[in-house]
């Protein structure tokens, strides 16, 4: 999949690796291959999901991207900047896949200034365009953390109280050039309930750590590109809600495709293309579309906020896409395969015959079906449905 494509280009471009140190023997003298870290990652993720906390579902996230001179360093291949952009593309796709009713904005900081390069919006395509456009931008000067944070505050402050506000800083520089006292900014972020996480591409910096700690975010230092990807994708899942986050009922519209009976519908402009035509042929003049149930403005895609009446327009699957965060599949119990003797010869879900290297199998608490490791990871990370429970009348609706 996509992960394999962004591998190393040439052997001599990669760093010096002590590959022999990655191989370890277990107590029986068998080799534990590189699959181990993946397994652990999956386990770790599962444990995090175990705690049944309230999540901030309607996320408003600002990405602060350092574009200072430090980004040109080549410790991530080919450069920190290009590597970050490549991973961000993946991140943005994943983010909107998992949080369809959330919004994302991008702020870039260089030359002691901060600039908003992507407005807070819910359309991944626009952000991807911005990110792709950045690959030719040059990185220079020093970043300014405070300016960037202030810029984020200015727009996050206006959001309604039920919105979860977040900032994710990708910092390559070890220094920041700030106009005032950054501690004041951090306090302000704290009082506003903005959760700030920092990923440093270089090393731990006190002020970044403090920012993350004070506002309840996470702090991480990137080891290599794979680790970077893991850390970044860790921010895809919605974080626990900030205490004091108000809950409210939000009015939303569920427009449906309107089809006029019989004849072809008249062409009309949609509100999303009325100003910019995106270079498409026809300039957004289409027959069908989604109509706002409140004011009948037309839009060509969902989710969107109605420009005329500010109603959030979504479709039911958008909401359904987020449900798995709220109702995760229970963690399976790890069992020795020898416990089952020969009664279970293959994985319940994928019908793979167990071989000698499958030392552990995974049993679901509820339906008591047994799965192989690969299915366990697939079920918990991607599918979020237990095939055993879903094929059993007694366990299907819990």
């Amino acid at each position: 999949m996509a992960d394999d494509e962004d591998g190393k280009e040439y052997r001599w471009e990669t760093g010096y690796e002590k590959t022999w140190e990655a191989i370890k023997e277990d107590s029986e003298g068998l080799l534990e291959g590189p699959g181990l870290d993946m397994v652990q990652r999956a386990r770790r993720r599962q444990r995090q999901k175990l705690s049944h906390t309230r999540l901030g579902m309607m996320r408003h996230l600002y990405l602060i991207l350092d574009q200072s001179e430090a980004m040109t360093s080549q410790d991530l291949k080919p450069t920190r900047h290009l590597c970050t952009l490549k991973l961000l593309e993946n991140f943005i796709e994943e983010f909107f896949d998992q949080n369809p009713i959330s919004q994302l904005g991008i702020i870039s900081t260089k030359n002691k200034r901060a600039e908003k390069i992507g407005e807070l919006a819910g359309n991944p395509r626009k952000h991807l365009k911005v990110i792709r456009g950045l690959s030719t931008a040059n990185c220079s000067g020093e970043p300014s953390l405070q300016n960037a944070l202030d810029l984020a505050i200015r727009s996050l402050r206006l959001l309604p109280a039920h919105a979860s506000r977040e900032v994710l800083v990708l910092m390559a520089s070890l220094t920041t050039c700030d106009p005032g006292d950054i501690l004041v900014t951090i306090q302000e972020l704290k009082t506003l309930g903005v959760r700030c996480s920092v990923l440093s591409l270089a090393a731990e910096v006190h002020v970044c750590r403090l920012l993350a700690r004070e506002t309840g975010g996470q702090f991480g230092v990137v080891l290599d590109d794979c680790h970077f990807r893991d850390l970044l994708l860790g921010h895809v899942d919605p974080p626990p809600a900030v205490t004091g986050l108000e809950s409210s009922l939000i009015k939303m519209g569920f427009p449906h495709h309107q089809i006029t009976e019989g004849k072809e519908a008249a062409l009309s402009m949609c509100m999303c293309h009325v100003e910019v035509s995106d270079g498409e042929p026809g300039g957004g003049l289409k027959a069908g579309g989604y109509f706002c149930p409140q004011c009948s403005s037309k839009y060509c895609e969902l989710p969107v906020e109605c420009r005329a009446c500010n109603l959030t327009l979504v479709s039911a699957p958008h909401l359904a896409r987020s449900y798995h965060h709220l109702f995760p599949v229970d963690v399976y119990i790890e069992r020795e395969r020898s416990e089952f003797e020969d009664s279970i010869s293959h994985c319940f879900a994928c019908r793979r015959l167990y071989v000698d290297s499958d030392k552990h199998v995974y049993e679901c608490n509820r339906c008591a079906q047994v799965f192989c490791l690969d299915c366990d990871i697939f079920i918990h990370e991607t599918m979020h449905v237990c095939p055993g429970c879903a094929t059993n009348q007694t366990t299907v609706n819990i």
Binding site: R54, H162, S247, S248, F254, S315, L319, R352, V396
Partner: protein, 296 residues
């Protein structure tokens, strides 16, 4: 890459629920379906030597793989019969044997446990096929490509009770680039229609059961990339409106809980799903207290 390395996997999910209206009225319908499915499956295998096939049967209590048979290490291939390609004979024999076992087993369970109630657990069968496809894709040799799709043949109605499972499965399929096709024998299926729309598959409610094989061969045999070039039934407009959690009615404008995303048709001060207390809209004479009720 050369064409040789591209194969196509077809997973057929056959609904064998004895509670289906069609089956209850005329019991031989199931046999007729099975004949068509076997012929269709063989046609798929005939298109290319590298094509793969899996068939699942599911009803109210269980889901089982009919084909391929459980791996046992030694592959026993049957002898050529009437000059028919061995694989076809093998497919037909395996499917017939396993479906017989499956249905008999189900009847015994119904006798033991009493009533046969509930809906066909199609979402579970879909989940199992996704795991199976996931495994086969992992086992592919480097450079080989496999296009996977799932075809559901069902005569039951769809049930909102499995809504969440269905949605999770559809989104997984979309992510893994797996097309879900649905061939409905009896009723219009709103939920599965959404699944087809999300994954880019075809939905067809066949007008005549006698022509099942014809419909299967014409509509569902071509692979998704080829379908663009064919004149197929136009995609149905899917109604994506949400049903409110309180009355199960389709609504245009609704209220969504910011904590658990439940949908309501009217404003209520407390969420019935997660018991969160909401801030009342509009100015209030008394300042509302801090709410700290957690999702349990």
């Amino acid at each position: 890459m050369s064409e040789e390395s591209e194969s196509s996997l077809l997973v057929i999910i056959l609904d064998t629920n004895p509670g289906q209206r069609l089956v209850q009225e005329q019991a031989h319908v199931l046999t007729q379906c099975l004949e068509s499915v076997i012929a269709f499956a063989n046609s798929h295998l005939m298109l290319k030597a590298a094509n793969k096939l899996a068939v699942l049967a599911c009803h109210t209590k269980a889901t089982e793989f009919l084909y391929p048979p459980p791996e046992t290490g030694s592959q026993s291939m049957c002898r050529q019969h009437d000059g028919q390609y061995e694989l076809f004979t093998h497919v037909e024999k395996t499917i017939r044997q396993s479906i017989q076992k499956f249905v008999v087993h189900h009847i015994e369970r119904i006798k033991q446990e009493g009533e046969n109630t509930g809906d066909t657990l199609l979402a579970g069968a879909l989940a199992m096929s996704l795991c199976y496809i996931h495994r086969l894709e992992r086992e592919l040799t480097a450079g080989a490509k496999m296009n996977s799709r799932i075809l559901i043949i069902t005569g039951s109605g769809d049930s909102a009770s499995q809504y969440m499972n269905y949605m999770n499965v559809f989104f997984t399929a979309q992510k893994q680039n797996i097309t879900i096709d649905v061939c409905s024998l009896d009723q219009d299926l709103g939920l599965l229609q959404q699944g087809c729309d999300i994954t880019g598959g075809l939905y067809l409610k066949i007008p005549q059961l006698q022509g099942l094989l014809q419909y299967l061969l014409w509509v569902f045999l071509p692979e998704p990339p080829i379908r663009e070039k064919l004149v197929l039934p136009p995609p149905v407009k899917v109604d994506y409106r949400a049903a409110c959690f309180c009355h199960r009615e389709l609504i245009d404008i609704g209220y969504v809980c910011s904590v658990c995303l439940s949908i309501f048709c009217k404003f209520s001060p407390i969420c019935t799903t997660c018991h969160t207390v909401f801030k009342t809209p509009g100015p209030l004479p008394i300042k509302p207290k801090k709410k700290k009720i957690k999702l349990t």
